[in-house]
Amino acid sequence: MSDATTDATLPKTAAAETPEGPWRVALRKLFRDRTAVGAIIVLVLIVLACCAAPLYAKYVSQSDPFQSNLDGSITLDGNSVDIMQADTAGLGLGVTPIGPTWHGQYFFGADNQGRDVAARMLYGGQNSLLISFFATVVTLVLAAIIGTIAGFIGGLTDTVLARLLDVLWAFPVYLLAISLSIVFISKGIQIGPFTIPSNSLILPIMIIGIVYVPYVARPIRGQVMSLTRSDFVLAARCLGVPSFRILVRDILPNVTTTLIVFAPLMMALNMLTESALSFLSIGVQPPNASWGTIILDGEDLLYTQPMVAIAPGLAIIITVLALNFLGDGVRDAFDPRAKLRVKKD
């Protein structure tokens, strides 16, 4: 009897018994969550659409969304139509921008400067996504550093950092963001030779990123404190493993999943905050646009051309919902305590 069959099955058995890595398991869980997958698809489509803004402006809208076009006209169904339409009835008062054409040009209509709202929305989306993404990075990095140092070192360092977080936490987040924005956006920042102009996107990124740090740093600190007292860390200490090595090899990998779970949720929050600040004229500064600034543009047109405010509002709702659904999926996938049914192959 030959052992050939047994030999042949050996590697197969070994492969089947090799445990899947935690990342792979999490990703598998994530991609089995239909809602999360749907959210990812929606987000990818939004990002792609926003990236295509210059192409849309050039080939579809055929207009510069940052230049006023108060005296222009477009051809619609063979007829020349003014972009800013003077009221001819009654007393002949007022000039109203063209409404949604549902065609390539001025799909969502024009704002009060005669600019194509659809094209501006795509450019504005770039800034909204960019700010919310990088503000999330700032929040997570700062929160990870502060939370880990406070939780791992403990003692006086923890007391000082925790109280600082408490102070920051004590301010209503929007009030703090508005106050910082008013201070910095009026004049920009100059530190030595480095100048950040008042219209730079770095300002809203930093402001939004910083105000949310306590919201992430405190749970991270708690988790690190818990991990520091766990058996495997105590074992490592007993074996004489250096603290830095424990931090890098044992603590941070465990914290990383928490940060990943926070990422989409924070991005959704940051997007809402950015929109609010921009709506109040203290976020993205003209001539740049964001979904918040476009809603502000539409505020004066709510009675006549509500689509100018509704369209970017819908974009924010869809993106934030998608990020929240993705956040739920990521949490279920990465949190080992989450109860998600995963079918075995």
Binding site: F66, Q67, S68, L70, D71, M84, A86, D87, A89, G90, L91, G92, L93, G94, V95, T96, N112, Q113, S186, S198, N199, S281, Q285, P286, P287, D300, L301, L302, Y303, T304, Q305
Partner: protein
Amino acid sequence: MTLRRWLHSSALALIAASGLAAATAVTAQAADHMGGTLNLTGASAAGTIDPQINYTSQFWSVLFITNDGLVAFKHVSGESSNDVVPDLATAIPAPQDGGKTYVFTIRKGVKFSNGKDVTPDDVVATFQRIFKVSNPNAGSWYNVIVGADACLKTPATCTLAGGVVADDAANTVTFHLTQPDSEFFYKLATPFGDIVPADTAAKDLGTSPAPATGPYMITSYDPQKNMILKRNPYYKEWSKDAQPAGYVDTINYTFGPKPEDEVTAIENGQQDWMFDSPPSDRLPEMASKFPNSIHINPLFAIYYAPMNVNIAPFNNKDARLAVNYALNRKSAVNIYGGPRLAVPNCQVLPPGFPGYKAYCPYTKNPGSKWSAPDMVKAKALMKASGQIGQPVTVIADDQNVDPALGTYLVSVLNELGFKATLKVISANIQFTYIQNTKNNVQISISQWYQDYPAASDFINVLLSCGSFHPGSDASINISGFCDKGIDAEINKNLITAVTDQKAANAEWGKIDAELVDQAPWATMFTPKQLDFVSARLKNFTFSDQFHMIYSQVWVQ
């Protein structure tokens, strides 16, 4: 008595009786409309209610019915509203000493709202107070009074000795001027010249009103909430032209609502009038649903973009000319609400104003009227200026159409090749911010409404060397424009105006054209005043000087 004489007498009696009956009917009709509360609203208050300090059209309309000067602009509609009539003085005095002396006789029996009589001493104290509280125009309007120089140097000890002299026995006040001033009565007729009691504190009164003489008095004022005006118990009509009695019993001026909400409140009858311009997107709806509630009147005003001629890039004349050629004034008019509400303008003076002579070089077909922007010429000038790529910040305030005009101007500047950005700041500070040279403002959006009907109120006030005060918040020559040659012409013409107003006005037209050629501004348009009132508000009376006269409208 013959039949003829009898008929004649009877006819006269009949006419007299009819006249009396008509007069009685008018009085009765007017009496029918007495009472009620007039509800006014504005997005924000206009600061202090000190008549010697406040310099806003919003509160000048209020001071117009609460306070009186020696003379006043007529409280009527139409062109007559530019006429000056005696108010607390019994008559307009004839000039003496070649126009350097005026003797006013003070009207007897007029009382302040605290019950005290108006006396010559109050008049003297008022004019001292103009300097003591640093009136915005103390140095430019009242500097012709003898003793003003000393008052400007040390305001706290101002006496105007020899300049304003009271004679209690004769009940007169004599003004001695250092030189004749053709606009002296106009300057006395503005709220700066309103007489306050001699014991009024020589500091900004803020929200505490000084006793005054008009038919209404301010009983409370909270800039965050409202202002209440009630009838002055000591008021008794002495001149219908100068200060007629009012119809409503109470005026409630609410501050805070946004213009959108103001329009809705008026449509619903919750408010009677709004100070702010209605948002342009509401205009078609207002015009179609409430055509009888809309009153459109011409204004002597301009919307303009002053360019700082002392710093880059607008210290380069070609760059300034390029902006003027590139500016599509039709677009700016559209932002304001369309051609029914504004007319394109290239000049310093508004159309129809004394001295105005139509002139517009910054258009495709240069001449007297703007027709279209000339981008080819603008870009050529821009290239010649060497300012392409220069960063420019446009400063606009956050009220009404100003942010939209700022956005449009940024677009024009970027099209020309500048790297322009917009900075929108609160209307509470924008006007002083753009005046102060320390803020290095390059270009901004601003407006100017006439103080009184004289060309110098635009040309001399806004573009003379004397109006430019580097480092000060009160430097109304926002461009910092100072051309010694033009300044000499202005000063010469101010003298000419004393004796020959017609010749002076012709000269103002020439000076206006010279200023336009220097392009310290890009003038955009002259607006019209649109008043949107409630259905119950009647007898709408519009003065060129102070717009809707609150005391002359009725609500019942």
